[in-house]
Amino acid sequence: MLLAAQQNVAQHIAFGIIAAGMIIGALRVVTTNNVVHAALWLVVVLGGAAALYLLLAAEFVAVTQILVYIGAVTVLFLFGTMLTRARIGRESDLNTPLRGIGVLVGLAIAGVTTYVLIDAFGDDQLPKDPLISSTQQVSDAIFGPYLLPFWALSFVLLAAVIGAIVLARKD
């Protein structure tokens, strides 16, 4: 019992640290004046998300997140930045004049969703000892009932690869 309570406290502390880092990183992504810094802050957010997935007992998704997002997507962003930009550094024209509207829209979405979530889920607890933590069950789901979406996704990836090559080809 005591051990369980301690684990719970540790989980809460870990969650608080990760959540604060993710919020700060996300705010820096949308406010910084340097595109490369934005990409690196995005790594903080994506890594925090992977840690949260571990807290949520989804270890396979966490590893996939690290491999695909931090390993591949971030590199793509850095390549995109460097291919579309003569210089690396601070810039002044990264934002539209619509920042006020953006703040309004963001605050409206945050307010409405916060109200709805607290109204709907109040003090609902997550189960302490999850029954579904094995990667085997995830693969059973993907290659069982979700086999057709999995095939469709393979074709989406193939089309995306070919499309990217065709779009970026020089001629």
């Binding site: 997935y53 989804a58 396979f60 997002y69 579309t84 963001g106 916060t114 607890q125 995830v138 999995f150």
Partner: protein, 99 residues
């Protein structure tokens, strides 16, 4: 742990991502904001997967990660093409299709 901790964090990330999509005019930064939005959705899916003891949420999260990777690839190719044609990736200057 409360499920609302995860859901509220997801809501905050979603709102920040929407702000980024509205307020940024650089194509690469808009794509990054879209990644923020997709990640907030993934956090929600995994939280509900744990709450309902149902593994389908994790399968959906994996699908979303794959689609996001494809989207970034094509999106960056489009941004690269815009840069090659206009020497600029400011999205509010792309008004050729305005009626």
């Amino acid at each position: 742990m409360l499920i609302n901790e995860f859901l509220l964090l997801g809501a905050a990330l979603f709102a920040i991502g929407v702000y980024g999509v509205v307020a940024r005019r650089n194509g690469v930064l808009v794509l990054m904001s879209i990644e923020l939005i997709l990640n907030s959705v993934n956090i929600n899916l995994l939280a509900f997967s744990l709450r309902n003891n149902n593994v389908n949420g994790q399968a959906f999260a994996l699908f979303i990660i794959a689609v996001a990777a494809a989207e970034v690839g094509v999106g960056l190719a489009i941004v690269l093409l815009i840069y090659r044609n206009k020497r600029n990736i400011a999205l509010d200057e792309l008004s050729e299709m305005k009626g």
